[in-house]
């Protein structure tokens, strides 16, 4: 993906839950995708992690079981060299091309938009559902100018735009932008007219939709 300058970011509550390791997995993956394109949110996450550091330092101590200290010392002997295991380089993974997906999505969708097994979901809309343990993770491709019927959400829905753009009640969302929608938020996104809009969507609950047949959205919920 090319460099982007997002205008819609992670909310403060989300930053805290993310840093705490308490965001449902589907939402966390979308939040990571946005953060990989947004230095501002990476900085905010560091702030939220400092709170975790402060909390852990203020914890009461849990007494060690017998022999814990000796066991630790023995493990130091076992790796006395103190050699840092080499961290993997991400340069290959992040090699930029027009169809390269953000690195945090590679485990779920592979490296490239090219050749993805899109499935028909509704008129003008194709999708791919990734297998994750908790919640729903979808990549959507919606045709230029297409609208998605007004819908609300059970639980939370995070969307990060990868290509193209859409407009809804909350503004224009372009590549890199993150939208957080909750139970009470209803919206009717309309895609920009120049190119298909590709988004990654995380849900911690079900989508409910007015004006579209349950059958049309059914493939959303089939693993």
């Amino acid at each position: 993906m090319q460099a982007v300058n997002p205008r819609h970011h992670l909310g403060e509550a989300t930053l805290l839950s993310y840093a705490a390791g308490a965001l449902p997995a589907a939402l966390a993956i979308v939040a990571t995708t946005h953060s990989s394109m947004c230095m501002a949110c990476r900085r905010q996450l560091r702030m939220a992690e400092r709170i975790g550091g402060g909390l852990i330092a203020l914890q009461h101590e849990a007494a060690p079981p017998a022999g814990a200290r000796e066991a630790m010392l023995a493990r130091l002997d076992a790796c006395a060299s103190s050699a840092a295991p080499a961290l993997g380089s991400f340069e290959d993974a992040a090699a930029v091309g027009p169809d390269t997906l953000p690195v945090p999505l590679h485990p779920y969708f592979g490296r490239s938009l090219a050749g993805l097994p899109w499935r028909w979901m509704a008129a003008g809309m194709q999708g791919i559902r990734a297998g994750i343990g908790e919640g729903t993770l979808l990549m959507l491709r919606v045709a230029p100018g297409e609208g998605i019927p007004m819908h609300g959400h059970h639980g939370s829905e995070f969307t990060c735009v990868l290509q193209g753009a859409y407009d809804d009640e909350f503004g224009r969302f372009s590549a890199g932008d993150l939208a957080e929608l909750g139970t009470d938020d209803r919206h009717r996104p309309v895609m920009a007219s120049d190119m298909p809009c590709i988004c990654i969507v995380g849900l911690d609950g079900d989508l409910h939709c007015e004006g579209c047949s349950p059958q049309a959205l059914q493939p959303l919920f089939v693993a």
């Binding site: 509550a13 402060g54 779920y108």
Partner: protein, 201 residues
């Protein structure tokens, strides 16, 4: 009535701790440069009981909690050279190690750690947000005090998030309030702690 913990923090603020006792950055540097076992064991003696409590609080069973505590501290030993004081203070670095281990090994979200390493990688070395020379123990004291001063409900949702890894929805259900209310408490807590750290530094 002052709780034991705020007394401890208040004392730490009044009597700047001696470098030997509280400058964990220096201890980490000694581990990184000289593989100094005494420095490492000082870090171990201070942080292992807290990491253990953190994991037990997350519901990890005793034996596994001990195994992961050791593994977390072993990573401190092995990766001290990668610790970057310009990026995080020692307690935050150790928190991240423990949190990532929990997500990786207990919650079984194997992609999480790779993603965190990737995000770290993006900003290269020191990015200047925390200028070198900021004493980590001074900064730690500020955040400790700010956490202690959070209003009760904000402290509660923060603790449920960090220490019980509860989602906002789960917190809302447990407290019998709306999701929006939980988000609002978390938001206010974040803004308050952020303001303390950026103003007093």
């Amino acid at each position: 009535m002052i709780t034991g913990k705020s007394t401890e923090v208040a004392e730490a603020l009044q009597n700047p701790p001696s470098a030997a006792m509280h400058d964990w950055t220096a201890q980490l540097e000694a581990v990184a440069c000289r593989h100094d076992r005494d420095s490492f064991m000082r870090i171990y003696d201070h942080f292992a009981p807290r990491v253990r409590r953190y994991l037990l609080g997350l519901g990890v069973g005793g034996a596994l909690a001990e195994e992961l505590t050791q593994e977390a501290l072993l990573r401190v030993w092995q990766r001290a050279q990668q610790y970057d004081p310009g990026r995080s203070n020692p307690e935050t670095w150790i928190f991240r190690i423990a949190r990532n281990l929990h997500l990786d090994r207990v919650r079984r979200e194997p992609a999480w750690r790779m993603a965190q390493e990737y995000l770290d990688d993006l900003d290269g070395a020191v990015d200047g947000q925390w200028p070198p020379g900021t004493e980590s123990y001074a900064e730690e004291a500020i955040i400790h005090q700010a956490i202690q001063q959070l209003p009760g409900i904000q402290a509660r949702v923060i603790r449920m998030s960090y220490f019980e890894a509860k989602s906002q929805q789960a917190i809302a259900s447990e407290l019998g309030v709306s999701l929006g209310t939980v988000k609002s408490h978390l938001r206010h807590a974040f803004l308050k702690l952020q303001a303390e750290l950026t103003c007093k530094r």
